[in-house]
Structure formats: structure tokens, C-alpha cells
Symmetry: C2
Subunit: 300 residues, 2 copies
């Protein structure tokens, strides 16, 4: 029987102070049965992405401890960054990897979400597969107005009432979005221009919500320290819309503005198949099977 | 201490009769401690590539049993195919994967080579890291003239005397080349033209021996059943010259002839890093680490 592995990828609203992110990561890894896989910090976004795995109970406990530490050390009233956010723990997805189903991960999300709301007094919205309403599946919909906007709306607009917890943001930690989803790829494409409007236009062109590629969420950001701009993408179904397709569409759109792609990055972890599919696309590989990669056969 | 894994990739001169190749594969996998990873048959080349792993002793025994079966069932006097060959077992490399050194693999090659020559009466040439002479490192140099040419030369030309065994080819099994080497990638690139001269010219342009890319061996073949042609490449050091560089050079050369690349294939196994490097090149990935691939972290 396959080993039980749940992946959890909490995003925290701190990308500049390493000691803060380390404290959160330490809280997570303090739980036996978890393995911390990755910690990424982005100073422009002012955001950190932590990736860890474990059995369902260890992962649920570790997610809570990460939330608890984040609430203690992150103050959104003084937080500024390129990436939209509503909480110190901004989003916390659970992803089935092996030996667990999506339903299992939805159950974990509900348990952890309820505990965060009750013990930390942070309102929680359930999203993606754990969503209680269709207009609450997608993270951008829940995050509208960000921390500052939601602070008012949550009290007045019935549509913005949380799934757990008070109808009031935590004063410094805001609200958290918790859920279950398939593996997502965080993929940033950097453009050789200082004009952030170009990145915003391209993001608008390629994202599903405004008419572009299905399964693509995208935003344009300025990378001020580098003098360039970035189309920051979440690929929510890399089997439906693969990495290379989004890349090629960005390339075509960027050409319209006479702007080159100068680099890209994958933030956090990525499924092997997604990388292989991209190599296969550009090399025009026929009949290539992931099992032809030697290392996959050593793990058997 | 790392598990001891040697990879062996024998190539046999049979790519059309599945029952023949199956019999050879069965002989190999009959040895406890081996794992058969892949069997590829190419009807145009009339050649099969088998990939298996195991500890050094199991792999040495299995390689011999594969040779023994090949000598029994393959008759080179009636063999026709696109790929150059001198033996029923044409080449048998041993590759260090973990827990063994290149020197260990050279020792295995010598032991197996000597046994093939003595027990099967098939002359053996040692190549690559096991070579006894600098002009015998490269397979193309040892294979000059193929079975038919070598059959005469081996008797008359002292330069063509084998490292083990008689100065006479086995009447139906020819000679075998045995050695140790780093991982090699067998990569075929198919061109949308029936003109095999174009494939030959491009192979000539890109291969190291005639002035092209270091670490690249290449030949042009006709794929008669498909009406197209192929540049068939061995990348002998994918860290030195990566897949995508050879691909891009072929693409540039093919454009000169107005011919498109219509597909490619990797034959047998490929190291993960080689696939990742190609995806990284085309997606312009910065700072990407293989450890970001989730599956690599599940087997730690």
C-alpha cells in the first residue's frame, strides 16, 4: 500500500526578514512525521512559500503550528509587498500525493481551518476543493480588496462572511484561506522592461478569468530591485494547461511589445511530469515515458 | 553507504524479431540481483538496446548470459540494417550509477570481455574507459568496416587485433566491444525529408570527429518505412554538451536545407539532469534545482 503522503504549501506574508520565516519553518518542522522540503522567500512579493510533507495527522498539526507562529510574528498593518494578501498565513493548501484522496485533504483543510479560527481568532475561508460556495473556489476571488479592503467588508458584506471564525479580521494577522487542491506550479516569467503595465497587460491576456488560458492565474509585478517586471503565474492544472503553453503564450504577447523574456523561475516544488512535458515539447520528443528517466527506476 | 548499482546497456544486432530479443532479455533477467529496465528495438537500425542494473557481480553474470544467447541466435551473415555493427552482441558498456567507481566498471568490463572471448570464441575489443589504446577508445574507430570488413582485416592488420580472443571473427557472431563509460544519451532527431544525404551532411556537421560539437557522435540514416531521415546521435557527455545544444545545432543546419525537424526520440534511459537541463534551457529557468522536483524528495 502506498505510503501516506500529504503535501502542504503554506504561503506567509513575510519575504524579507529571514529570522521570521525561519521561526515559522522551525515551528512546522518541530512536528515528528513531517519533512520540510523547501522554503522560498521573495523580497519583492514580500512573501514566503514553505513546502512540507508528512502523514495527514502530522501535516495538520504542523500547519497549525506554522499558522500560530505566523500570527505571532507577522503584522499586516505594516506589510507592503507586490503580492496580494489577506493574512499573515495567507493561504494553506493541502495536496494529496500518495495514499490519500482529495476528500481526505478536504477533511484536513476543514479541521485545520476550524482550529485556526477557534484558537487563533483568525477568520478562515475554505477554498478550491474545500470551498463551501462556487464563488469561493478561487483564491483571487476570496482575496479581493486584500487585507485593507477586507477589514471593512467582512463586517458589512454578507458575501464576505468567513467559513470559520468571527466576522472580523484579526487586527494584525488578517484572515487565512485554507483548502485542498491538486498540485500547482508557481511559475514566474521575467520581462526585460521596467514597464509594469506590460506585465499587467500580458497577465490579463493569459489568465483564465479575463479570457486567456484555462487553469492559469496571473498577475503583473514590478521587480524594483532589478529594474524589470514579472508575470507571476499559478498553473492550477499542469496536465490541462502545461508550463510550456503558458510560456509560449507569454512569449508571443511579449513580442507584441518588443520585450524579451529574460528569465523565469519555478517557485517551490514542481511535479516531475511537468518538467518532462516541457523538455518533450521543445525537443519534439515522441513516445517518451517518464520511466525512461534512470533515477525513477532506482526509487522502485 | 550508497546501494551498489552498475548499469549495463548491451546493444544487440537484432531489431525486427521480437522473439529473439525476448530470449536475450530473458537470459539477462534470469540472474538474481539484476533488474531489467528497458528493451528498445529499432527495425530500421535492426538493433536492440537493453538496459539493466544490479550489483557488480549480478550485472557481470547477466551480461555474459546475454552475450551467450545473442551468439546462439543472431547470424550476422544475414543481418542487414541501418546501424553499423561488428557483432551479435555489438557493444556492452558498464556504467557506474552508485556505490561503484569507473575503475570498478573497467574491471567488470575486463572480466566479462575475457570470459566472452574464452567461452564463446568471440574476439573482444575493450573501449572507452577500459580501452587499452587511445585509438581504441571510440566505438566508431573499432567498428570501421563493420562485420564484413573486419572479417578480413582482423587476420591481416595488426592494428585490428582484439584485446581478448582469437584473431578471427566468430563466423556468425562477429566480435564484441566491451567497456566502461559515463552515462550516454542515445538521441535521434527525425527530419521531414526523404533525402538521406541531408541527414548525413548534418550528422557530419555536428559530430565531434569531423569538427562539430565535442562529445557528440552522429550518423545519418534513412527511415525507409516512414519516408523520412534521421540524425542518430550518441551524446557521450551530456554535462559537457547537453541535449538541447545538439538539438539547436541540428535545427540550424536543417534550416539551411529548408527541412523541418518533425520529431525526436530518446532511446533507452536518460539521466534526470539531462531532461531538466533541457526544460530549463527552453523555459529560461533561473536557479532551478533538481531537488525542486517533488518526486526526488519522496524517495529520500
Amino acid at each position: 500500500m502506498a505510503r501516506e503522503i500529504v503535501e502542504c504549501v503554506p504561503n506567509f506574508s513575510e519575504g524579507r526578514r529571514k529570522e521570521v520565516v525561519d521561526a515559522i519553518a522551525d515551528a512546522i518542522r518541530s512536528v515528528p512525521g513531517t519533512k520540510l522540503l523547501d522554503v522560498e522567500m521573495d523580497a519583492n512579493h514580500n512573501r514566503a512559500v514553505v513546502t512540507f510533507i508528512g502523514d495527514r495527522n502530522a501535516v495538520a498539526e504542523a500547519a497549525f503550528r506554522g499558522a500560530e507562529k505566523a500570527v505571532a510574528v507577522i503584522d499586516l498593518t505594516v506589510h507592503k509587498g507586490e503580492h496580494p494578501r489577506i493574512g499573515a498565513l495567507d493561504v494553506c493548501p493541502f495536496v494529496p500525493v500518495s495514499g490519500v484522496t482529495m476528500e481526505d485533504c478536504v477533511a484536513i483543510a476543514r479541521t485545520v481551518g476550524e482550529r485556526i479560527a477557534r484558537e487563533l481568532k483568525v477568520p478562515v475561508y475554505l477554498y478550491e476543493e474545500a470551498a463551501t460556495r462556487p464563488d469561493r473556489r478561487a483564491l483571487p476571488d476570496i482575496r479581493k480588496g486584500e487585507f485593507e479592503g477586507l477589514r471593512e467588508e467582512i463586517k458589512t458584506n454578507p458575501e464576505r462572511a468567513p467559513d470559520f471564525g468571527p466576522r472580523q479580521l484579526h487586527p494584525t494577522a488578517g484572515a487565512s484561506v485554507v483548502g485542498a487542491r491538486a498540485p500547482l506550479i508557481a511559475f514566474n516569467v521575467n520581462l526585460g522592461t521596467p514597464d509594469v503595465q506590460i506585465a499587467k497587460k500580458i497577465a490579463h491576456a493569459i489568465r483564465e478569468s479575463s479570457g486567456g488560458l484555462k487553469y492559469v492565474r496571473a498577475k503583473g509585478f514590478a521587480l524594483k530591485d532589478r529594474g524589470i517586471v514579472q508575470v507571476s503565474i499559478n498553473m492550477v492544472n499542469y496536465k490541462g494547461t502545461p508550463l510550456f503553453r503558458a510560456y509560449e503564450l507569454i512569449k508571443a504577447e511579449a513580442e507584441r511589445y518588443g520585450v524579451p523574456i529574460v528569465g523565469s523561475e519555478i517557485v517551490g516544488l514542481v511535479p516531475l511530469e511537468a518538467v518532462v512535458d516541457s523538455a518533450g515539447f521543445y525537443l519534439k520528443l515522441e513516445n517518451f515515458k517518464v520511466e525512461q528517466i534512470l533515477e525513477t527506476r532506482l526509487w522502485e
